[in-house]
Each structure stands twice: as C-alpha cells, then as structure tokens.
Symmetry: C2
Subunit: 151 residues, 2 copies
C-alpha cells in the first residue's frame, strides 16, 4: 500500500512534469531558452530602470512599451526549468530550484505578479508610481537571484 501510494505520487509527478520538459528537444535548449527569455526581459526592464533612476529622461510611452515586453517575457522562463535541466550548458541555476520547487514557484509567481503591476504603473503615466513599481519588481528579481542563482 505504501509502495503503491509512492508509485502513484511518482506517476502523478511525472505526468505533471512531462509537458514542461517535453517542450524542449534537449536540456541545452531549455537552458538556452530560459536564459534568452530572462536576457530579453532584463534589457527592457533595464530601460525602465534607467528612467526610474533618472539616467535617461522619462518617456511615458517608452515606459509602457518596455513594461509590456517585461510582463509578457516574465511568463516564459519557468518552463525552461523542467526536470533534468540543471546541467547541459553553463548555468548559474542552483540545485535548490529542483529540490525546493514549491519555494521557487512562489518566487516566480511573485515576479510575474510584480511585472503585471509594473505595467499597470507604467500606464498611469506617473513617474513616481513607475519608480515605486520598478523598485518592487527589482526586489523580487533580487530575492529570487539571492536564493536560486549562484554568483
């Protein structure tokens, strides 16, 4: 009974995990995919940061355009962290991503939520609102990197 239950749980876990990992032909593709999505997102997020920090003049339309890309991209990387994608290409991903999946998902869900709020903030066309949302989103990036990305 104990074994049967364990097998049932294992089978359920595989079934849940299969779609994400099956999306990629090989682990290298999954790693390259998540790194690519995060890099594209970071470029657009950085442009909002430059406005929030006063390095470039505030441009309300550019802020919205960039926040839209950030919010879209924020949904993508996580499919690239499927089982078996901890190695295969140079990666800073820590083993904790796979050993503490629930905690990792909390962080990624939080980041998705923060980028959604960032887009709402950008659409207010108010620089102070944008600054606050940028700081909050940047905080969610940092918290996750501290926990799950090696230096």
């Amino acid at each position: 009974m104990k074994l049967a239950a364990s097998l049932a749980i294992a089978a359920a876990a595989c079934a849940l995990a299969a779609p994400a990992s099956a999306q990629f032909a090989k682990p290298e593709d999954a790693i390259k995919y998540r790194q690519s999505a995060l890099f594209v997102m970071a470029q657009h997020f950085g442009r909002i940061g430059a406005m929030a920090n006063g390095r470039v003049p505030y441009d309300a339309k550019a802020a919205v355009d960039n926040a839209e890309v950030v919010a879209d991209m924020a949904k993508l990387p996580w499919a690239g962290f499927g089982p078996g994608t901890d190695k295969g290409l140079s990666t800073k991903a820590k083993p904790e991503i796979w050993s503490e999946q629930a905690r990792f998902k909390e962080h990624s869900d939080k980041m998705i939520a923060e980028t959604g709020k960032l887009l709402v903030a950008a659409k207010t066309n108010n620089l102070d609102t944008l600054k606050a949302a940028f700081q909050s989103t940047a905080g969610s990036c940092k918290t996750c990197h501290d926990a799950f990305r090696s230096q």
Copy 2:
C-alpha cells in the same frame, strides 16, 4: 551645396539610427538580444510546426498560446540590428543587413505580418488553416535567412 546636403542626410540618418543603437549598452548586448529573441521565438514556432507536420497531436489551445508568443517575439529582434552591431559576438548576420537596410526591413516587416496571420489562423481552431499559415510564415523565415544569414 552638395556637401551640405550630404551632411544633412548623414545627420538625419544618425538621428534616426541613434534610438535603436542607444537602447543597448554595447554591441554585444544588441547581438545577444536579437539572438535571444529569435531563439525564444523559434522554440515556440517549432511547437506549432510539430503540430502542423503531425509530429505531435494538434492542440488548438497550445497552438494559440504558442502563436501569441511568436507574434509578440517577432517584433523584437530588429532593434538589435542597429549600426555597429555587425560584430562583437559570434554572429551569422551578413554585412548585407547593413548595406541593404531597406531590403532587410522589407523581410522583417513581412515576417512580422506573417506571424500576425499565423496567430489569426491559430485562433480559427482549424488545423488545415494553421498548416497553411505555418508554411507561409516558415517561408518568410527561410527567404530572410537565405539572403541575410550565413550558414
């Protein structure tokens, strides 16, 4: 007069070019950005291709989800082909991208249009319609790669 006119054209060209190249801290970032955006797009496009070619069962919702990412991503890479981004990182981009900018833009505009049609086709929930749009979009990828990407 001739020189003045040339200088005016050159100044206008610089002014037009500046925003795109100024978005990136260095040419390497622009190259990595366009490669990343194209890689993410290709992963999602490949999933539609797998359905169109019968390698995986047709899933109407998955087709729409993937087509949405493809259509979003298709708009991004082109900002990464600004002046001075022909080298700095390993790239298959041919010099013709910069020496024949109008033709390159025709190809990228065509690709953006095709991915828009692909999304519309995916939303019809009809596999044959999706197949036709996939072939047409794939054709626009190939035409541009043949002209502007080295093997």
